[in-house]
Protein backbone atom coordinates (compact mmCIF):
# COMPACT_ATOMS: atom_id res chain seq x y z
CA UNK A 1 0.00 0.00 0.00
CA UNK A 2 0.98 3.56 -0.62
CA UNK A 3 3.20 4.95 2.13
CA UNK A 4 0.70 6.90 4.23
CA UNK A 5 1.21 10.57 4.92
CA UNK A 6 3.47 11.28 1.93
CA UNK A 7 1.95 14.19 0.07
CA UNK A 8 4.85 15.60 -1.92
CA UNK A 9 7.45 13.99 -4.14
CA UNK A 10 10.17 16.40 -5.25
CA UNK A 11 12.75 15.72 -7.92
CA UNK A 12 15.32 18.51 -7.92
CA UNK A 13 17.59 18.81 -10.94
CA UNK A 14 20.60 20.33 -9.17
CA UNK A 15 22.39 19.79 -5.90
CA UNK A 16 21.75 23.41 -4.94
CA UNK A 17 18.03 23.01 -5.53
CA UNK A 18 18.04 19.85 -3.41
CA UNK A 19 19.94 21.67 -0.69
CA UNK A 20 17.38 24.48 -0.72
CA UNK A 21 14.81 21.91 0.41
CA UNK A 22 17.09 20.12 2.86
CA UNK A 23 18.79 23.07 4.57
CA UNK A 24 16.00 24.10 6.98
CA UNK A 25 16.22 20.69 8.65
CA UNK A 26 12.48 20.26 8.41
CA UNK A 27 11.57 16.91 10.05
CA UNK A 28 8.71 16.45 7.59
CA UNK A 29 11.20 16.07 4.76
CA UNK A 30 13.30 13.05 3.84
CA UNK A 31 16.02 12.61 1.29
CA UNK A 32 15.42 9.67 -0.99
CA UNK A 33 18.36 8.07 -2.72
CA UNK A 34 17.86 4.32 -2.76
CA UNK A 35 14.63 4.13 -0.91
CA UNK A 36 14.58 0.98 1.13
CA UNK A 37 14.90 2.11 4.67
CA UNK A 38 12.83 5.22 4.34
CA UNK A 39 9.88 3.45 2.82
CA UNK A 40 9.44 1.24 5.82
CA UNK A 41 10.60 3.26 8.73
CA UNK A 42 9.79 6.89 7.95
CA UNK A 43 7.99 8.34 10.96
CA UNK A 44 4.45 9.64 10.46
CA UNK A 45 5.52 13.28 10.36
CA UNK A 46 7.38 12.76 7.10
CA UNK A 47 5.25 14.19 4.27
CA UNK A 48 7.78 15.18 1.63
CA UNK A 49 10.34 13.13 -0.27
CA UNK A 50 13.29 14.73 -2.02
CA UNK A 51 14.47 12.29 -4.66
CA UNK A 52 18.14 13.12 -5.21
CA UNK A 53 18.57 10.44 -7.86
CA UNK A 54 19.05 13.03 -10.61
CA UNK A 55 21.64 15.15 -8.84
CA UNK A 56 24.11 12.67 -7.42
CA UNK A 57 26.85 10.69 -9.01
CA UNK A 58 26.74 6.90 -9.14
CA UNK A 59 30.16 6.24 -10.66
CA UNK A 60 33.08 4.48 -9.03
CA UNK A 61 36.56 5.62 -10.05
CA UNK A 62 40.09 4.68 -9.11
CA UNK A 63 42.29 7.75 -8.72
CA UNK A 64 45.93 8.06 -9.72
CA UNK A 65 47.04 7.74 -6.11
CA UNK A 66 45.27 4.40 -5.82
CA UNK A 67 42.36 5.73 -3.80
CA UNK A 68 38.85 4.84 -4.91
CA UNK A 69 36.03 7.36 -5.19
CA UNK A 70 32.48 6.05 -4.88
CA UNK A 71 29.56 8.27 -5.89
CA UNK A 72 26.76 8.40 -3.33
CA UNK A 73 24.22 6.97 -5.76
CA UNK A 74 26.29 3.85 -6.44
CA UNK A 75 24.26 0.86 -5.32
CA UNK A 76 25.65 -1.63 -2.86
CA UNK A 77 25.78 -4.08 -5.77
CA UNK A 78 27.77 -1.58 -7.84
CA UNK A 79 30.27 -1.31 -4.99
CA UNK A 80 30.39 -5.07 -4.47
CA UNK A 81 30.93 -5.86 -8.14
CA UNK A 82 33.38 -3.09 -9.07
CA UNK A 83 36.65 -4.71 -10.07
CA UNK A 84 38.91 -2.30 -8.18
CA UNK A 85 36.77 -2.24 -5.05
CA UNK A 86 36.65 -6.04 -5.14
CA UNK A 87 40.40 -6.32 -4.59
CA UNK A 88 40.86 -3.29 -2.33
CA UNK A 89 41.72 -4.31 1.23
CA UNK A 90 42.22 -7.94 0.21
CA UNK A 91 38.64 -8.26 -0.98
CA UNK A 92 36.95 -7.24 2.25
CA UNK A 93 34.26 -5.23 0.48
CA UNK A 94 32.52 -8.06 -1.41
CA UNK A 95 33.19 -10.32 1.58
CA UNK A 96 31.08 -7.92 3.63
CA UNK A 97 28.55 -6.76 1.02
CA UNK A 98 27.31 -10.27 0.30
CA UNK A 99 25.84 -10.24 3.81
CA UNK A 100 24.07 -6.88 3.53
CA UNK A 101 20.35 -7.50 3.16
CA UNK A 102 19.95 -9.53 0.00
CA UNK A 103 20.37 -8.93 -3.73
CA UNK A 104 16.89 -7.44 -4.11
CA UNK A 105 17.89 -4.72 -1.63
CA UNK A 106 21.55 -4.32 -2.64
CA UNK A 107 20.51 -3.79 -6.24
CA UNK A 108 18.73 -0.57 -5.30
CA UNK A 109 20.10 0.64 -1.97
CA UNK A 110 22.75 3.30 -2.41
CA UNK A 111 25.99 3.63 -0.52
CA UNK A 112 25.23 7.26 0.30
CA UNK A 113 21.83 6.46 1.73
CA UNK A 114 23.28 3.58 3.69
CA UNK A 115 26.02 5.50 5.51
CA UNK A 116 23.68 8.44 6.19
CA UNK A 117 21.14 6.09 7.73
CA UNK A 118 23.64 5.22 10.47
CA UNK A 119 21.88 2.22 11.94
CA UNK A 120 22.76 -1.46 12.39
CA UNK A 121 25.25 -1.76 9.59
CA UNK A 122 27.81 -4.16 8.23
CA UNK A 123 29.01 -1.54 5.77
CA UNK A 124 30.07 1.14 8.23
CA UNK A 125 32.60 -0.95 10.23
CA UNK A 126 34.35 -1.97 7.01
CA UNK A 127 34.51 1.59 5.66
CA UNK A 128 35.86 2.69 9.05
CA UNK A 129 38.46 -0.06 9.07
CA UNK A 130 39.56 1.16 5.64
CA UNK A 131 39.72 4.76 7.07
CA UNK A 132 37.25 6.02 4.51
CA UNK A 133 36.53 9.70 3.98
CA UNK A 134 33.01 10.94 3.46
CA UNK A 135 32.00 13.78 1.18
CA UNK A 136 28.83 15.73 1.62
CA UNK A 137 27.18 19.00 0.72
CA UNK A 138 25.81 21.40 3.30
CA UNK A 139 25.92 24.59 1.31
CA UNK A 140 29.49 23.84 0.38
CA UNK A 141 31.38 20.66 -0.45
CA UNK A 142 32.79 19.06 2.69
CA UNK A 143 35.03 16.10 3.25
CA UNK A 144 36.12 14.45 6.48
CA UNK A 145 37.06 11.06 7.92
CA UNK A 146 33.96 8.88 8.17
CA UNK A 147 34.67 8.34 11.84
CA UNK A 148 34.55 12.09 12.51
CA UNK A 149 31.30 12.33 10.58
CA UNK A 150 29.70 10.02 13.15
CA UNK A 151 31.70 10.98 16.24
CA UNK A 152 31.01 14.69 15.76
CA UNK A 153 27.34 14.12 14.97
CA UNK A 154 27.56 15.60 11.48
CA UNK A 155 25.37 12.79 10.21
CA UNK A 156 22.50 14.22 12.24
CA UNK A 157 22.78 17.72 10.75
CA UNK A 158 21.17 18.75 7.46
CA UNK A 159 23.43 17.56 4.63
CA UNK A 160 23.43 15.55 1.45
CA UNK A 161 26.01 12.75 1.19
CA UNK A 162 27.71 12.99 -2.20
CA UNK A 163 30.37 10.34 -2.06
CA UNK A 164 32.90 8.23 -0.20
CA UNK A 165 36.59 7.81 -0.70
CA UNK A 166 38.69 4.80 0.13
CA UNK A 167 42.32 5.87 0.61
CA UNK A 168 45.04 3.91 -1.12
CA UNK A 169 46.50 1.06 0.93
CA UNK A 170 50.17 0.08 1.16
CA UNK A 171 51.36 -3.08 -0.54
CA UNK A 172 51.41 -5.09 2.64
CA UNK A 173 47.90 -4.47 3.85
CA UNK A 174 45.04 -6.85 4.53
CA UNK A 175 41.54 -6.63 5.92
CA UNK A 176 38.73 -9.00 6.79
CA UNK A 177 35.15 -8.95 7.94
CA UNK A 178 33.14 -11.39 10.04
CA UNK A 179 29.58 -11.22 11.20
CA UNK A 180 27.25 -13.30 13.29
CA UNK A 181 23.49 -13.41 12.71
CA UNK A 182 20.62 -15.83 13.19
CA UNK A 183 20.21 -16.44 9.46
CA UNK A 184 21.90 -15.34 6.28
CA UNK A 185 19.44 -12.56 5.53
CA UNK A 186 19.24 -10.95 8.95
CA UNK A 187 20.65 -8.05 10.90
CA UNK A 188 23.95 -8.93 12.54
CA UNK A 189 24.03 -9.72 16.25
CA UNK A 190 27.63 -8.60 16.03
CA UNK A 191 30.18 -7.85 13.33
CA UNK A 192 33.90 -7.11 13.25
CA UNK A 193 36.06 -5.50 10.58
CA UNK A 194 39.85 -5.60 10.97
CA UNK A 195 42.72 -4.21 8.95
CA UNK A 196 46.46 -4.32 9.42
CA UNK A 197 49.10 -2.49 7.32
CA UNK A 198 52.73 -3.55 7.58
CA UNK A 199 55.83 -1.62 6.76
CA UNK A 200 58.62 -4.14 6.60
CA UNK A 201 58.23 -6.08 9.83
CA UNK A 202 56.66 -3.26 11.77
CA UNK A 203 52.96 -2.61 12.03
CA UNK A 204 51.95 0.69 10.51
CA UNK A 205 48.18 0.80 10.96
CA UNK A 206 45.67 -1.36 12.83
CA UNK A 207 41.93 -0.98 12.83
CA UNK A 208 39.58 -3.20 14.82
CA UNK A 209 36.01 -1.98 14.43
CA UNK A 210 33.19 -3.82 16.16
CA UNK A 211 29.64 -3.14 14.98
CA UNK A 212 26.05 -4.03 15.91
CA UNK A 213 26.91 -4.18 19.60
CA UNK A 214 24.09 -2.91 19.02
CA UNK A 215 25.79 0.48 18.58
CA UNK A 216 26.77 1.42 15.04
CA UNK A 217 30.46 0.84 15.77
CA UNK A 218 33.13 0.94 18.45
CA UNK A 219 36.87 0.73 17.90
CA UNK A 220 38.78 -1.69 20.10
CA UNK A 221 41.67 0.69 20.78
CA UNK A 222 43.51 -1.39 23.38
CA UNK A 223 43.42 -4.35 21.08
CA UNK A 224 44.60 -2.21 18.18
CA UNK A 225 47.51 -0.91 20.30
CA UNK A 226 48.53 -4.40 21.30
CA UNK A 227 48.66 -5.59 17.68
CA UNK A 228 50.56 -2.41 16.76
CA UNK A 229 53.16 -3.20 19.40
CA UNK A 230 53.44 -6.94 19.06
CA UNK A 231 52.37 -7.60 15.48
CA UNK A 232 49.72 -10.11 14.45
CA UNK A 233 51.23 -13.13 16.23
CA UNK A 234 48.99 -15.94 17.46
CA UNK A 235 49.56 -14.92 21.06
CA UNK A 236 48.87 -11.26 20.38
CA UNK A 237 45.73 -12.10 18.43
CA UNK A 238 44.40 -14.24 21.30
CA UNK A 239 45.14 -11.45 23.73
CA UNK A 240 43.59 -8.83 21.40
CA UNK A 241 40.35 -10.79 21.46
CA UNK A 242 40.33 -10.71 25.24
CA UNK A 243 41.13 -7.00 25.30
CA UNK A 244 38.37 -6.26 22.81
CA UNK A 245 35.93 -8.19 24.95
CA UNK A 246 36.92 -6.05 27.88
CA UNK A 247 36.79 -2.67 26.18
CA UNK A 248 33.84 -2.99 23.78
CA UNK A 249 30.59 -2.24 25.54
CA UNK A 250 27.73 -4.51 24.53
CA UNK A 251 24.02 -4.22 25.04
CA UNK A 252 21.38 -6.90 25.39
CA UNK A 253 18.01 -7.30 23.76
CA UNK A 254 15.65 -9.97 22.57
CA UNK A 255 18.05 -11.14 19.85
CA UNK A 256 21.05 -11.60 22.14
CA UNK A 257 22.14 -10.85 25.68
CA UNK A 258 25.00 -8.45 26.42
CA UNK A 259 26.96 -11.36 27.87
CA UNK A 260 26.64 -13.37 24.69
CA UNK A 261 27.54 -10.38 22.55
CA UNK A 262 30.72 -9.97 24.63
CA UNK A 263 31.60 -13.59 23.96
CA UNK A 264 31.12 -12.89 20.26
CA UNK A 265 33.33 -9.78 20.48
CA UNK A 266 36.20 -11.92 21.65
CA UNK A 267 35.64 -14.82 19.28
CA UNK A 268 34.97 -12.73 16.19
CA UNK A 269 37.83 -10.30 16.86
CA UNK A 270 40.25 -13.16 17.29
CA UNK A 271 39.02 -14.97 14.21
CA UNK A 272 38.91 -11.82 12.09
CA UNK A 273 42.48 -10.88 13.07
CA UNK A 274 43.49 -14.44 12.29
CA UNK A 275 42.10 -14.11 8.77
CA UNK A 276 43.92 -10.79 8.33
CA UNK A 277 47.20 -12.32 9.55
CA UNK A 278 46.78 -15.17 7.09
CA UNK A 279 46.17 -12.73 4.25
CA UNK A 280 49.20 -10.67 5.26
CA UNK A 281 51.37 -13.73 5.00
CA UNK A 282 50.16 -14.16 1.46
CA UNK A 283 51.19 -10.60 0.52
Amino acid sequence: MSKPGITEYLRPDTLEEAWWHVEPGDPSLRILSGGADLTIHAPPEVTTLVDVGRVLDSTIQTMKDGSIHIGAMATLTDVMEHQDVAVHGSGVMPEMMVHVGNPLLRNFSTIGGHVARAKLSDVVPVFLALTAEIEYFNGADRSEPLQDYYDKGHHKEPHIVTGLQLPALPDRSAAAFLRFARTTFDFAILNVACRIDLDGDSVETVRIVVGSTPRLFQRAIEAEDLISEQGPTDTAIDRAGELARGEVRTGGGWVASAEYRSQLVEVLTRRCLGVVAGRLEAT
Partner: protein
Amino acid sequence: MNLLLSINGGQLSTEVEAGDTLLDALRGNGYTSVKDGCANGDCGTCAVLIDGRAVASCLVFAGQAEGHEITTIEGVTGADQAYHPLQQTMLDAGGVQCGYCIPAMILTAADLLERNPSPTRDHISSYLAGNLCRCTGYVKQIDAIEMAAAILRGDDDE
Protein backbone atom coordinates in the same frame (compact mmCIF):
# COMPACT_ATOMS: atom_id res chain seq x y z
CA MET B 1 1.48 12.95 -10.04
CA ASN B 2 1.70 11.57 -13.53
CA LEU B 3 4.48 9.18 -14.46
CA LEU B 4 5.63 7.62 -17.68
CA LEU B 5 6.85 4.13 -16.87
CA SER B 6 8.64 1.81 -19.29
CA ILE B 7 7.30 -1.66 -18.64
CA ASN B 8 8.18 -4.76 -20.63
CA GLY B 9 9.19 -2.67 -23.61
CA GLY B 10 6.02 -0.57 -23.65
CA GLN B 11 5.18 2.81 -22.18
CA LEU B 12 2.59 3.31 -19.46
CA SER B 13 1.29 6.72 -18.51
CA THR B 14 -0.15 6.50 -15.02
CA GLU B 15 -1.33 8.74 -12.23
CA VAL B 16 0.18 7.87 -8.83
CA GLU B 17 0.12 9.27 -5.31
CA ALA B 18 3.33 10.76 -3.96
CA GLY B 19 3.69 7.89 -1.50
CA ASP B 20 2.94 5.10 -3.97
CA THR B 21 5.56 2.42 -4.35
CA LEU B 22 6.42 0.84 -7.66
CA LEU B 23 4.57 -2.22 -6.34
CA ASP B 24 1.41 -0.10 -5.90
CA ALA B 25 1.77 1.33 -9.38
CA LEU B 26 2.30 -2.07 -10.99
CA ARG B 27 -0.50 -3.92 -9.23
CA GLY B 28 -2.81 -0.97 -9.73
CA ASN B 29 -2.20 -1.19 -13.46
CA GLY B 30 -2.95 -4.90 -13.65
CA TYR B 31 0.53 -6.33 -13.19
CA THR B 32 -0.76 -8.69 -10.52
CA SER B 33 2.05 -11.16 -11.16
CA VAL B 34 4.02 -8.84 -8.87
CA LYS B 35 2.95 -10.01 -5.41
CA ASP B 36 2.52 -8.09 -2.18
CA GLY B 37 3.71 -10.59 0.40
CA CYS B 38 4.95 -8.33 3.18
CA ALA B 39 5.21 -4.69 2.00
CA ASN B 40 8.39 -4.53 4.06
CA GLY B 41 11.17 -5.56 1.72
CA ASP B 42 11.59 -8.92 3.41
CA CYS B 43 9.87 -11.61 1.33
CA GLY B 44 10.92 -10.92 -2.25
CA THR B 45 7.60 -11.80 -3.89
CA CYS B 46 7.36 -8.26 -5.32
CA ALA B 47 10.67 -8.46 -7.19
CA VAL B 48 10.83 -6.96 -10.68
CA LEU B 49 13.78 -6.13 -12.88
CA ILE B 50 14.83 -2.49 -13.03
CA ASP B 51 17.32 -2.04 -15.85
CA GLY B 52 17.84 -5.76 -15.69
CA ARG B 53 18.50 -6.03 -11.97
CA ALA B 54 16.11 -7.70 -9.56
CA VAL B 55 14.72 -5.25 -7.02
CA ALA B 56 12.07 -5.40 -4.32
CA SER B 57 9.42 -3.14 -5.85
CA CYS B 58 7.80 -2.46 -2.47
CA LEU B 59 10.93 -0.53 -1.49
CA VAL B 60 11.03 1.66 -4.58
CA PHE B 61 8.83 4.70 -4.91
CA ALA B 62 7.00 4.83 -8.19
CA GLY B 63 8.68 8.14 -8.98
CA GLN B 64 12.11 6.57 -8.75
CA ALA B 65 11.26 4.07 -11.48
CA GLU B 66 10.62 6.70 -14.13
CA GLY B 67 13.31 6.66 -16.76
CA HIS B 68 14.24 3.06 -16.05
CA GLU B 69 13.22 -0.11 -17.84
CA ILE B 70 10.96 -2.30 -15.72
CA THR B 71 10.46 -5.99 -16.47
CA THR B 72 7.83 -8.25 -14.92
CA ILE B 73 7.20 -11.93 -15.63
CA GLU B 74 4.91 -10.87 -18.49
CA GLY B 75 8.00 -9.46 -20.16
CA VAL B 76 9.88 -12.73 -19.74
CA THR B 77 7.18 -14.99 -21.17
CA GLY B 78 7.68 -15.26 -24.92
CA ALA B 79 5.33 -14.51 -27.79
CA ASP B 80 2.32 -16.85 -27.91
CA GLN B 81 2.94 -17.57 -24.23
CA ALA B 82 6.06 -19.61 -25.04
CA TYR B 83 8.02 -20.47 -21.94
CA HIS B 84 11.33 -18.85 -21.08
CA PRO B 85 13.77 -21.65 -20.19
CA LEU B 86 13.38 -20.75 -16.51
CA GLN B 87 9.61 -21.19 -16.69
CA GLN B 88 10.05 -24.53 -18.44
CA THR B 89 12.64 -25.85 -15.99
CA MET B 90 10.75 -24.65 -12.92
CA LEU B 91 7.97 -27.03 -13.99
CA ASP B 92 10.31 -29.78 -15.19
CA ALA B 93 12.23 -29.78 -11.91
CA GLY B 94 9.14 -29.58 -9.71
CA GLY B 95 10.19 -26.20 -8.34
CA VAL B 96 6.66 -24.82 -8.25
CA GLN B 97 4.36 -25.54 -5.36
CA CYS B 98 1.89 -22.79 -4.49
CA GLY B 99 3.55 -20.59 -7.09
CA TYR B 100 3.15 -17.32 -5.22
CA CYS B 101 6.91 -16.68 -5.08
CA ILE B 102 7.63 -18.03 -8.56
CA PRO B 103 7.34 -14.99 -10.88
CA ALA B 104 9.72 -13.03 -8.63
CA MET B 105 12.07 -15.97 -8.29
CA ILE B 106 12.23 -16.45 -12.06
CA LEU B 107 13.00 -12.74 -12.52
CA THR B 108 15.76 -12.87 -9.90
CA ALA B 109 17.19 -15.96 -11.54
CA ALA B 110 17.04 -14.28 -14.95
CA ASP B 111 19.07 -11.37 -13.53
CA LEU B 112 21.62 -13.82 -12.11
CA LEU B 113 21.98 -15.83 -15.31
CA GLU B 114 22.38 -12.66 -17.36
CA ARG B 115 25.44 -11.82 -15.26
CA ASN B 116 26.69 -15.27 -14.47
CA PRO B 117 25.81 -17.90 -17.09
CA SER B 118 27.43 -20.72 -15.10
CA PRO B 119 26.55 -20.22 -11.45
CA THR B 120 27.31 -22.87 -8.87
CA ARG B 121 24.52 -24.01 -6.55
CA ASP B 122 26.03 -21.74 -3.90
CA HIS B 123 25.93 -18.77 -6.26
CA ILE B 124 22.29 -19.50 -6.97
CA SER B 125 21.44 -19.85 -3.29
CA SER B 126 23.25 -16.63 -2.56
CA TYR B 127 21.39 -14.72 -5.25
CA LEU B 128 18.03 -16.11 -4.07
CA ALA B 129 18.69 -15.00 -0.49
CA GLY B 130 15.89 -12.42 -0.70
CA ASN B 131 13.32 -14.60 -2.46
CA LEU B 132 11.58 -16.48 0.31
CA CYS B 133 9.63 -19.62 -0.42
CA ARG B 134 7.73 -21.41 2.33
CA CYS B 135 6.63 -24.45 0.31
CA THR B 136 9.70 -26.02 -1.22
CA GLY B 137 12.99 -25.98 0.67
CA TYR B 138 14.49 -24.45 -2.53
CA VAL B 139 16.07 -27.71 -3.69
CA LYS B 140 14.09 -28.04 -6.90
CA GLN B 141 14.16 -24.33 -7.64
CA ILE B 142 17.93 -24.38 -7.56
CA ASP B 143 17.83 -27.52 -9.76
CA ALA B 144 15.61 -25.61 -12.17
CA ILE B 145 17.95 -22.64 -12.37
CA GLU B 146 20.91 -24.92 -13.03
CA MET B 147 18.95 -26.63 -15.78
CA ALA B 148 17.90 -23.30 -17.31
CA ALA B 149 21.47 -22.05 -17.19
CA ALA B 150 22.56 -25.08 -19.21
CA ILE B 151 19.83 -24.43 -21.79
CA LEU B 152 20.71 -20.75 -22.06
CA ARG B 153 24.39 -21.59 -22.50
CA GLY B 154 23.39 -23.94 -25.28
CA ASP B 155 24.92 -26.97 -23.60
CA ASP B 156 24.16 -30.32 -25.09
CA ASP B 157 21.47 -32.33 -23.42
CA GLU B 158 23.94 -34.63 -21.75
